[in-house]
C-alpha cells in the first residue's frame, strides 16, 4: 500500500530523488527544506568509491564501517549511471580515481588498502610512475605511483540538482522553504517548522547532519555531525584531467569539469557559522588546499582561482542510516554516511522502497537506525 501523503525533510540530492521515486509511485509528496546551508548545493561532484585516506586518517574508528560499506559505494555509482541515463545527462564521467603516492611508504599504504578493497569487489590497481605517465602526464615529477580505482568518477552537481528539481516539479512534488524544528508522531506525523506546521502519513528524514537533533526524541542518538568544508574552482583550460585525483596522505580532491574548470577540494575546513548562516572561507584552507593542488599538478600554477566556497559534509559512524526508526515506522531515515553526494541517489532509492513496501532488507539491514537505539 502506498501512503497517500509523504513529507520529506531536506531537499538535497537525497530528498529530491526520494521525492521523485515516491511521486512516480503515485504518492503526494511535499519537500520542506531550510533553503540555506545545504550540502548538495555546495557539493563538487566527486563520485567516491575507494576508501578516502582523509577519512582513514581523521576517523580511524570509522574505518571498519567504511570498509564494510564498500559494496554500497559500488552500487551507488551504478545508481548514478541510472540517474544519468534517465534524467541526465549530468556530465557524468567515469574514468576512475587516482590516489597519489609521493614516497614508498605511501605507496605501500595504498597497496595494502587496494588489497582490502579488491576483496570487497572494488576494481583497483596500483600504477607505477611509468604507467601513471601514460594516463596522467600532467602530474608533478615527484609522484612515484598511485592507486587507480576504476569505479570512481564525477558528475556536475549543478546540472544534476537542476535536472532533478525539474523532474520533481514535473511530477507535482511541492517544495516549501522552512526549517523543521520538531517532529511528533501520533496517528500522523506532525513536523513543526519555523513558519508553519506540516502533517503527513509518513516522513522521510533526509536532513543530513541535522538528522540527529530532529529524531533525538525517538529513542535513537544518531551522531550526525556537519563538517564545513572548503572548495575552489579555476578558470577553464583545455587539458583533460579525466580522473578524480586524491592523495594517499594529504587532504585533496582535484578534478576537471566539462566546462574545462578545475575544482579543488578534499576536506579542508571552513568556518561554521551555525544553522542559519552559510559557512565562510578560512584563508588558511584556501592557501593550503590550492598550494597542495599546485604541488601535485604544477602546470595549473598559471591558472587563476576565480571562486571559492564552503559547504557542509555530513559524518556519522562511517556508515549510512537507512530505514524506519525502531520507535515508529512512520519516520524513515535517509542519511548517507560520509560521501553524501555519491551515496545520495542509492540511499534515496533504498529509503523510498521502505515506504513503498518493498524494502531491500538484505541491503539495508546493516544501515538500520536501530544501531543507535538508546
Amino acid at each position: 500500500m502506498i501512503p497517500n501523503d509523504i513529507l520529506i525533510v531536506g531537499g538535497g540530492i537525497v530528498g529530491q530523488i526520494t521525492a521523485i521515486k515516491l511521486a512516480n509511485a503515485g504518492a503526494k509528496v511535499t519537500v520542506v527544506d531550510a533553503g540555506i546551508n545545504a550540502g548538495s548545493t555546495a557539493n563538487a561532484g566527486s563520485l567516491h568509491v575507494q576508501m578516502q585516506s582523509r577519512f582513514m586518517r581523521i576517523y580511524p574508528d570509522q574505518v571498519p564501517n567504511i570498509e564494510a560499506s564498500l559494496p554500497l559505494y559500488l552500487r551507488a555509482v551504478e545508481e548514478w549511471e541510472r540517474i544519468d541515463a534517465k534524467y541526465g545527462p549530468v556530465e557524468m564521467i567515469r574514468k576512475g580515481g587516482l590516489m597519489l603516492a609521493e614516497d614508498q611508504k605511501q605507496l605501500s599504504f595504498l597497496e595494502k588498502k587496494a588489497k582490502r578493497e579488491a576483496k570487497k569487489g572494488v576494481s583497483v590497481e596500483i600504477l607505477d610512475r611509468h604507467a601513471l605517465e601514460q594516463i596522467a602526464p600532467w602530474l608533478g615529477p615527484h609522484i612515484i605511483g598511485a592507486e587507480l580505482c576504476l569505479n570512481e568518477g564525477k558528475v556536475n552537481p549543478l546540472v544534476a540538482n537542476r535536472r532533478l528539481r525539474a523532474v520533481a516539479d514535473g511530477l507535482g512534488v511541492q517544495f516549501l522553504q522552512d526549517r523543521i524544528q520538531n517532529l511528533t508522531v501520533g496517528k500522523r506525523v506532525e513536523a513543526i517548522g519555523q513558519t508553519d506546521t506540516y502533517q503527513a502519513d509518513r516522513a522521510v528524514i533526509a536532513a543530513a547532519w541535522g538528522t540527529g537533533a530532529l529524531v533525538g526524541n525517538f529513542g535513537v542518538t544518531i551522531p550526525s555531525v556537519g563538517e564545513p568544508l572548503h572548495m575552489n574552482i579555476t578558470e577553464a583550460c583545455s587539458a583533460r584531467i579525466d580522473h578524480l585525483v586524491q592523495h594517499a596522505e594529504r587532504s585533496i580532491t582535484l578534478k576537471q569539469f566539462k566546462s574545462g574548470q578545475i575544482v579543488i577540494g578534499g576536506g579542508w575546513s571552513a568556518n561554521d557559522r551555525g544553522l542559519s548562516q552559510v559557512p565562510t572561507v578560512d584563508p588558511l584552507s584556501l592557501l593550503g588546499n590550492v598550494s597542495l593542488a599546485a604541488q601535485l599538478v604544477p602546470t595549473i600554477g598559471n591558472l587563476r582561482i576565480i571562486r571559492t566556497w564552503a559547504g557542509m559534509n555530513t559524518t556519522m559512524d562511517g556508515a549510512s542510516v537507512i530505514g524506519p526508526l525502531p520507535a515508529s515506522d512512520r519516520l524513515v531515515m535517509a542519511v548517507p554516511g560520509d560521501a553524501g553526494y555519491t551515496l545520495g541517489p542509492l540511499v534515496a532509492r533504498l529509503a523510498a522502497n521502505c515506504l513503498l513496501g518493498k524494502a531491500d532488507h538484505s541491503v539495508i539491514e546493516r544501515y538500520s537506525p536501530a544501531r543507535f537505539a538508546n
Partner: protein, 555 residues
C-alpha cells in the same frame, strides 16, 4: 612618438611609453582581444580591471588583462582562446618570497578618498600603506597619466593630491591586486606576480565604484565600452577609442567624456541621455545651484560646449540595440515618443550610473543598507567613517555613491580617525570636513535626481540579451531559472550559472538580485546579493602558493 613595439597575433604593434596594452591595441585598431567559450568576440569593456573581458596571452601566460598591463618592448601577445592548453604554458617560476607588511593604517585604493586619508593619517603620525590596483594611483576621477602632463584642472588637482600623499611619507604601492580580505584584518594581494601579505592595525577601504552598463542586445560586442574606459584611454594614455563615437546612458560623466573625446579628435555623433532635460525640473535644478553653484555652472558650461561643437545632446533617448555591421556598430536608440533611429559608429560608450566596489567591505562583514533610489548597497558608517566592524573604515564611492569631493572629505575624516585608533593624534577635530561633506552630499542628492540612475532591468521583450557576460547567460535563461529557483540570488546562480564567471557577478549580480526581489516580492537587503567570497578578483595559483609559503614560515 611611437618608439617601441610588441607583437599581437603576429602583427607588430607600436606603443608609447606608459600606454597599457589595451590602449596600444585600441590605437592600432585591434578591438577583438579574445574569444568566449561560445565563440563570441570580446574586447575591452570596463578599462579598469573589473570585467575580465580584455584577456590576452602574454609570453605564453594566459588570461592577462590588457587594460591593466603596461605595454612593454618585445612582448609576444596572442588573443585569448577560451581553453588554453595547460602543457603549453611556461612552468611558473619558483615563487618570489612574499612581502609581509604591518602598517598602522592600510588604505585600499589610491583615489580621491584613499589619498586624502593617507595624508591625514600621516599628518597624525601613523605609518601608512596605500595600495592601488593601477600602476599609477589617482583613481577613476583623477585618472593620472604615467607620461603626460595634466590635461586640465581636474587632472592637475589629482596630480597635486598624489604629490602631497607621496610627500607625506605614506608608502604608495601600485599594481597591487587585493584578492583576499579576512578577519583581523588580513589582506592578501598580488603585486606583479609576487605575494603581498598585509596585517594592519586599522584599514580604510577606498575602492571606489565601477560603471553600471545598459544591458541591450549586442552590449558585449568589441567596440562597446563603458564611458569611463574611453575616458581612461584618453586621459591616461592619450588614445582615442575610435573615430566615430556615440555616448549614452545617464549622468554628467557622459557629457564630460564626450567633450574630452572630441578634444582628442574623435567625432562624437551624439550624447544620448535617458533622463529629461534639467530645465524640465526647475525646482531641483535650483536646489542644485544653491547646493553648489560652481559645479552647476561647470555643468552648464559643458552643455554650451557641446552645442558650440555641434554635438547633439538628446534627452529621454535610450540605447535599444547594438548590431555588428560591416562598417562598425549600429546603435539603435528609442526616444520618449517611441520612435527609433540608428547611428553607425566605431565605438559606443555607456554609463548608466555606478555600482560601489564594496567586495572587501562585504567580505569583512561590514553591515550594509540598500539604497533603493540608487539601486545599490550603502555601507553603514558612523560620523568618523567607521563601519560596523571595529577598526575598519570606508570612504568614498565604495560605501555608496557620493562623488570625488565628498570622498576627499570622508578620506580626511577617516584618515584622522584611523590614525587615532592606531594611537596617533585625535579623531575629534573634523569640523571643517564635516561641514563641507554635508554640502557635497546635498549637491549629490539633487544632481542624481536630475539624472536617471534608478536601477533598471533589461527589456524582457529581448530575452536574447546577455546579462552575465562571463558565462554568457541570457535574460531568457535567467527568467526560466527564476521559475524553478525563485528563492534567492544564490539559488538562481546555481540554477543558471549567472555570476559564476571571472568577473564574479559584478554586472549581472545586481540584475539577478533585482529580478529575484521582483518575483518574490521581498525587499532587497545585503543578504539578497550573491554571497561575498574570496578571491575578490581572480588570482593566479602561483601567487597563492607564494602567500602560503610566507604565512607558513614561522619567521
Amino acid at each position: 612618438m611611437t618608439t617601441d613595439r610588441f607583437n599581437f597575433a603576429g602583427k607588430s604593434i607600436g606603443f608609447r611609453e606608459g600606454q597599457s596594452i589595451a590602449a596600444a591595441l585600441t590605437e592600432a585598431g585591434q578591438r577583438v582581444l579574445r574569444q568566449s567559450a561560445k565563440g563570441e568576440n570580446r574586447g575591452m569593456f570596463c578599462g579598469m580591471g573589473v570585467c575580465q573581458d580584455c584577456l590576452i596571452t602574454i609570453d605564453g601566460l594566459p588570461n592577462q588583462r590588457a587594460c591593466m598591463t603596461p605595454a612593454a618592448f618585445g612582448l609576444e601577445i596572442e588573443p585569448q582562446i577560451a581553453f588554453p592548453q595547460l602543457n603549453q604554458m611556461p612552468v611558473p617560476p619558483t615563487a618570489t618570497p612574499a612581502q609581509i607588511l604591518e602598517p598602522d593604517v592600510a588604505i585600499i585604493g589610491g583615489g580621491a578618498g584613499g589619498l586624502s586619508a593617507a595624508i591625514a593619517a600621516r599628518k597624525a603620525g601613523s605609518s601608512v600603506l596605500v595600495m592601488d590596483e593601477r600602476k599609477v594611483a589617482g583613481g577613476q576621477y583623477y585618472k593620472q597619466s604615467a607620461s603626460h602632463p595634466p590635461l586640465d584642472a581636474q587632472q592637475a588637482e589629482g596630480a597635486t593630491l598624489l604629490k602631497h600623499a607621496q610627500e607625506s611619507g605614506a608608502e604608495i604601492m601600485g599594481s597591487v591586486e587585493i584578492w583576499g580580505a579576512f578577519d583581523g584584518p588580513l589582506f592578501l594581494a598580488d603585486v606583479g606576480g609576487a605575494a603581498l601579505v598585509v596585517r594592519p592595525k586599522t584599514a580604510i577601504i577606498a575602492t571606489g565604484a565601477y560603471e553600471r552598463p545598459r544591458m541591450v542586445p549586442g552590449w558585449t560586442l568589441p567596440g562597446v565600452m563603458t564611458t569611463g574606459a574611453a575616458q581612461t584611454l584618453w586621459r591616461s594614455y592619450r588614445t582615442t577609442p575610435g573615430k566615430r563615437v556615440v555616448v549614452c546612458g545617464s549622468g554628467p560623466l557622459n557629457v564630460q567624456v564626450a567633450l574630452e573625446l572630441a578634444q582628442g579628435g574623435s567625432q562624437v555623433v551624439m550624447v544620448a541621455e535617458t533622463a529629461s532635460a534639467p530645465w524640465q525640473h526647475p525646482w531641483i535644478s535650483l536646489k542644485a545651484i544653491t547646493a553648489d553653484p560652481g559645479l552647476v555652472f561647470k555643468g552648464i558650461g559643458m552643455m554650451r560646449e557641446l552645442k558650440r561643437q555641434s554635438i547633439p545632446l538628446r534627452h529621454q533617448t535610450s540605447l535599444h540595440t547594438i548590431e555588428q555591421v560591416e562598417d562598425g556598430l549600429r546603435a539603435t536608440f528609442k526616444t520618449a515618443s517611441g520612435s527609433e533611429f540608428s547611428e553607425t559608429v566605431d565605438v559606443i560608450c555607456m554609463n548608466d550610473g555606478f555600482e560601489p566596489q564594496n567586495e572587501v567591505l562585504r567580505l569583512l562583514g561590514a553591515s550594509m543598507t540598500y539604497d533603493g533610489a540608487m539601486g545599490h548597497l550603502r555601507c553603514d558608517r558612523d560620523r568618523r567613517m567607521e563601519t560596523s566592524i571595529s577598526n575598519l573604515f570606508a570612504v568614498g564611492d565604495c560605501a555608496g555613491l557620493g562623488g570625488a569631493p565628498a570622498a576627499r572629505d570622508e578620506g580626511t575624516i577617516a584618515g584622522r580617525a584611523a590614525a587615532a585608533r592606531a594611537g596617533f593624534g585625535s579623531a575629534q577635530d573634523s569640523y571643517p570636513e564635516d561641514r563641507s561633506l554635508a554640502r557635497h552630499r546635498n549637491f549629490q542628492n539633487y544632481l542624481w535626481k536630475l539624472h536617471d540612475v534608478r536601477p533598471k532591468l533589461p527589456d524582457t521583450s529581448a530575452p536574447e540579451t546577455i546579462v552575465c557576460r562571463c558565462e554568457e547567460i541570457t535574460l531568457g535563461e535567467i527568467l526560466d531559472g527564476l521559475e524553478t529557483s525563485p528563492g534567492h540570488a544564490g539559488s538562481l546562480k546555481r540554477a543558471t550559472r549567472v555570476g559564476m564567471g571571472r568577473c564574479q557577478g559584478r554586472y549581472c549580480g545586481p540584475v539577478a538580485t533585482r529580478l529575484v526581489a521582483q518575483i518574490t516580492g521581498k525587499p532587497i537587503e545585503d543578504l539578497s546579493h550573491f554571497a561575498p567570497r574570496a578571491p575578490i578578483k581572480p588570482i593566479a595559483i602561483s601567487s597563492i602558493l607564494a602567500a602560503q609559503e610566507a604565512l607558513d614560515d614561522p619567521e
